[in-house]
């Protein structure tokens, strides 16, 4: 019988970014990305939900120790991105446009190696209270 349970940890970080493709001229960037391409950056309160799906351990009753998950997210994600400029201050987005989609993929890739392969991970990232993405789907 399938006893898989999803547990979710919610965290948040604030960051500046801009959306911009270096392969395009300014006019094309403005057409595609609008105000998000403005040169002096803007920013967001990102709300991050990390969902871990697996069977509860028979000894602890936990799918994953949420305290441990919280510490992992703090170490791998928040310390990297919180109060940073995603374009200028992070290795991950030196050559990658920091859209919500790409940030979710990067977060997944950073966390996946630290989570038991028996478990699935899904990342939900809110860029604003009204815009959010999920990965993988």
């Amino acid at each position: 019988m399938n006893k898989r349970v999803a547990v979710i940890r919610r965290e948040h970080f604030n960051a500046a970014h801009r959306l911009y493709s270096p392969e395009w001229d300014e006019a094309t960037n403005n057409t595609v990305f609008g105000k998000c391409a403005l040169p002096n950056y803007h920013g967001h309160n990102y709300e991050l939900e990390v969902k871990i799906i697996g069977e509860p351990d028979p000894k602890t009753g936990f799918v994953i120790d949420l305290k441990m998950l919280s510490e992992l997210i703090k170490r791998e994600i928040l310390e990297r991105f919180d109060h940073k400029n995603l374009n200028l201050d992070t290795r991950e987005f030196k050559n990658l446009n920091p859209t919500a989609e790409n940030i979710a993929i990067v977060i997944y890739d950073l966390l996946r190696p630290h989570i038991d392969s028996k478990m699935d991970i899904q990342v939900r990232l809110y860029e604003t209270p009204r815009n959010f993405v999920e990965y993988p789907v």
């Binding site: 948040h12 998000c36 920013g43 209270p129």
Partner: protein
């Protein structure tokens, strides 16, 4: 007397830096908020005006007009901008949420008709941090 509130939102970058202090002192006081390359927020803005409902319309103030005033004089200046670099009414000021709320008040206070009074600027910097300004 009825209090009428319009909610708006904007996204912006900023940093907290006192130009009179060196980098070390700024980091001591403002922590991560002093990060040289900026960080940013989704700001949620609540503008409250007060007055008596007009007997002909039932309105304290036409909320569509209020929305247009906020958009033209506040949101268009702030949304997707860098508060320290791009915003005329924040020039030379520390871009704290407190000062931004005062700046927004000053933008709007003179634009309202005599039948209504600006009552409060409530500004969320994050879902967990907000300020309220009730005027000078």
């Amino acid at each position: 007397m009825v209090y009428l509130t319009r909610a708006e939102h904007f996204n912006a970058a900023h940093k907290l830096v006192n130009p009179a202090w060196d980098h070390k002192k700024n980091e001591e006081v403002f922590g991560k908020c002093a990060n040289e390359n900026w960080h940013g927020h989704n700001y949620e803005l609540f503008v409250t005006v007060k007055g008596n409902p007009d007997p002909d319309t039932g309105f304290v103030f036409d909320v569509k007009q209020l929305s247009v005033l906020i958009r033209e004089h506040v949101i268009e200046k702030l949304d997707h901008r860098n508060l320290n670099l791009d915003v005329d009414f924040m020039r030379g000021k520390l871009c704290s949420t407190e000062n931004l709320a005062i700046g927004i008040w000053d933008q709007l206070a003179g634009l309202l008709p005599s039948t209504v009074t600006l009552h409060c600027i409530k500004l969320y910097e994050t879902p967990r941090i907000y300020v309220e300004y009730f005027g000078p």
